[in-house]
């Protein structure tokens, strides 16, 4: 909301979020099997420092940290969009069965013994297939409503769930750990940070001018139409964009849960419900959460690596239940 004190509060919010983002990324590159001191991190950033540190930071940790940050941002933005689209603050990016499609694609590739690149490609194809399936079926012969979309998505997700269980049951034992890690979300599948980073930047640029129209849509389609919004094209656009963002995130890191649900929800409780603020704030806060979660996942049981989805769920479930318990909705 505009106004002098609101403006000050927002400046403060951005300052905190940006500093926290930088701090999270710095922690992610500094902490690990070999802890790098802050001065040494600066040295590497200046192009100096020991070769081992350079390798560790620039080749291994920095790409993973960036990938985690971007994936978290993508999931949180996609979650915020889905929540507006379905007019339901408890929707998440996976609610429409997209992660199920991606998981079936990824597991099928793993079962066939394909390499990481093909696993990613197959996951992306599965996510898009699921998107088209839900969209087509929800469109059907009748009218296209959020309720219909939600029900179609939930049923399609249940179908994917059955297929996933079947594939796990039929898989040889030696492939199971990799599959389970993928299903829980794992940053070690991230090979290059650039697809999620570029997608996130493009999505934010695209969404910046769309914030107010999303505020209007959240008041319901009839009210939005009466305020001059072309509702149907807007809803399709949000659905397609949120699906693409989720597909890129799932392809990067498997199905990491709770980021898309918890982050927008927490931000709303603190910042109100102006999508012009919530969407960019979700990109940063989602990034912070997943970067920190992945750093924890790498270090808690080092040298073992936990799937990051376990950490986000363990953090997310109690936080979310607490917020829900406290909220007035």
């Amino acid at each position: 909301m505009p106004g002098a004190d609101a403006g000050l509060r927002h400046s403060l919010t951005w300052l905190v979020l940006i500093l926290a983002s930088l701090l999270a990324l710095a922690l992610a590159v500094a902490i690990g099997s070999e802890t790098v001191q802050p001065m040494q991190v600066f040295a590497v950033l200046r192009g100096e420092g020991e070769p081992l540190h350079r390798l560790l930071l620039l080749e291994l940790r920095a790409p993973r940290a960036l990938a985690a940050f971007a994936t978290g941002g993508l999931l949180a933005v996609a979650g915020a969009l889905m929540q507006v689209l379905l007019r339901n603050p408890l929707a998440d990016p996976y609610v429409l069965g997209l992660s199920g499609g991606a998981a079936v694609g990824a597991l099928a590739a793993m079962l066939s013994g394909l390499g990481t690149a093909l696993i990613s490609g197959s996951a992306f194809a599965g996510a898009l297939l699921s998107t088209l399936l839900v969209f087509g079926l929800a469109h059907g012969t009748g009218s296209w409503t959020p309720t219909r979309l939600l029900l179609t998505g939930v049923v399609v997700a249940a179908g994917w769930g059955a297929v996933i269980t079947l594939m796990l049951a039929l898989s040889p034992a030696e492939r199971l750990p990799g599959m389970l890690y993928w299903l829980m979300g794992d940053m070690s599948y991230a090979r290059s940070p650039w697809p999620p980073v570029l997608t996130l930047v493009l999505a934010c640029l695209l969404l910046l001018p769309a914030g107010r129209v999303l505020n209007v849509l959240a008041r319901g389609p009839l009210q939005a139409a009466a305020l001059g919004v072309a509702v149907r094209p807007l809803e399709w656009g949000i659905y397609i964009l949120a699906s693409l963002l989720t597909a890129v995130a799932v392809t990067t890191a498997g199905s990491v849960g709770f980021v898309g649900l918890v982050v927008p929800h927490m931000l709303r409780l603190v910042l109100g419900n102006d999508q012009r603020i919530i969407l960019p704030a979700a990109a940063l806060a989602g990034g912070i959460l997943l970067t920190l979660a992945d750093t924890l996942a790498r270090t808690v049981l080092a040298p073992e690596q936990l799937p990051v989805g376990v950490i986000t769920a363990l953090l997310g479930v109690p936080t979310f239940l607490y917020l829900l318990y406290r909220s007035r909705m």
């Binding site: 929540q83 505020n215 008041r219 139409a225």
Partner: protein
């Protein structure tokens, strides 16, 4: 700005066409739409707003058919107060009322101080200022109804289309909202509202449109329309008629 209908037949599913409407709603007029449940009052209002296509005929605003209007330009002239609203998604009273400025702002523009002042004036006029930071979902039905009226007021329309604007309101606020709409008409706007209360219609509307369940309709100045026999037929209900302060009063027998 004149809102006109030319041989308009609203699309009520499963009903014969009935009488085509040729209305001319001029600035300064307050029209009341009366009829029993399911007569098509809301459908008519949505059709007048261009939110659903008619079965036949056209709606013209400022002599131009509605489909030819750009949605945004239309929203700058015409506001709708809906009977059913989706207040499920959390937003404060102020945030909700401010979206009435949406049709006037470009995508990159934030609300200006003038927009904020309009919203605050609307909140003040509807006794909502103390509630400005409350979530709409936590308000009572009557308070939400006033938020909807404040939203439309912030939209500064030339034509008001209000679907039962006094729904859920206590007596004081019923009068306050009717006075507001009446004042809007005196300031040169056109007002159309669906009503169930014959007494509000008798007191505040200068024109009435009676919609019968079978699609029949008649319309004209209020004095000509408030014929007890016609109203009894309209509602299938016997009425007692009296007079208080020079205004006719109707009570169901």
């Amino acid at each position: 700005m004149v809102l006109e209908t030319c041989d308009l037949v609203v699309d009520v599913p499963g009903r014969a066409a009935g009488r085509a409407l040729n209305l001319r709603i001029e600035p300064g007029q307050v029209w009341g739409v009366l009829g029993p449940n399911g007569a098509g009052k809301t459908t008519l209002l949505h059709t007048l707003a261009g939110l659903r296509p008619p079965r036949g005929g056209t709606v013209l605003l400022d002599n131009a058919p509605l489909p030819g209007w750009r949605r945004r330009a239309l929203a700058q002239q015409l506001a709708v107060i809906f009977q059913e609203r989706q207040d499920g998604f959390p937003a404060t009273v102020m945030e909700t009322v401010l979206i009435g400025r949406h049709p006037f702002l470009s995508p990159w523009q934030m609300e200006s101080a003038a927009d904020l002042a309009l919203a605050e004036a609307a909140l003040t006029q509807l006794d909502l200022l103390p509630l400005r930071d409350r979530l709409v979902s936590t308000l009572s039905g009557g308070e939400r109804q006033r938020v909807a009226v404040a939203l439309a007021l912030t939209q500064t329309p030339a034509v008001w289309l209000a679907d039962e604007p006094t729904n859920h309101l206590d007596l004081h606020h019923q009068v306050a909202v009717m006075t507001l709409l009446h004042q809007q008409a005196r300031d040169g706007r056109a007002v159309v509202m669906c009503l169930h209360d014959l007494n509000l219609a008798a007191r505040w509307c200068d024109h009435l449109l009676l919609l019968y369940p079978d699609g029949e309709a008649c319309w004209g100045p209020t004095d000509d329309m408030l014929v007890p026999a016609a109203l009894e037929k309209l509602y299938d209900q016997r009425l007692a008629v009296g007079e208080v302060d020079g205004v006719r009063v109707f009570v169901a027998r």
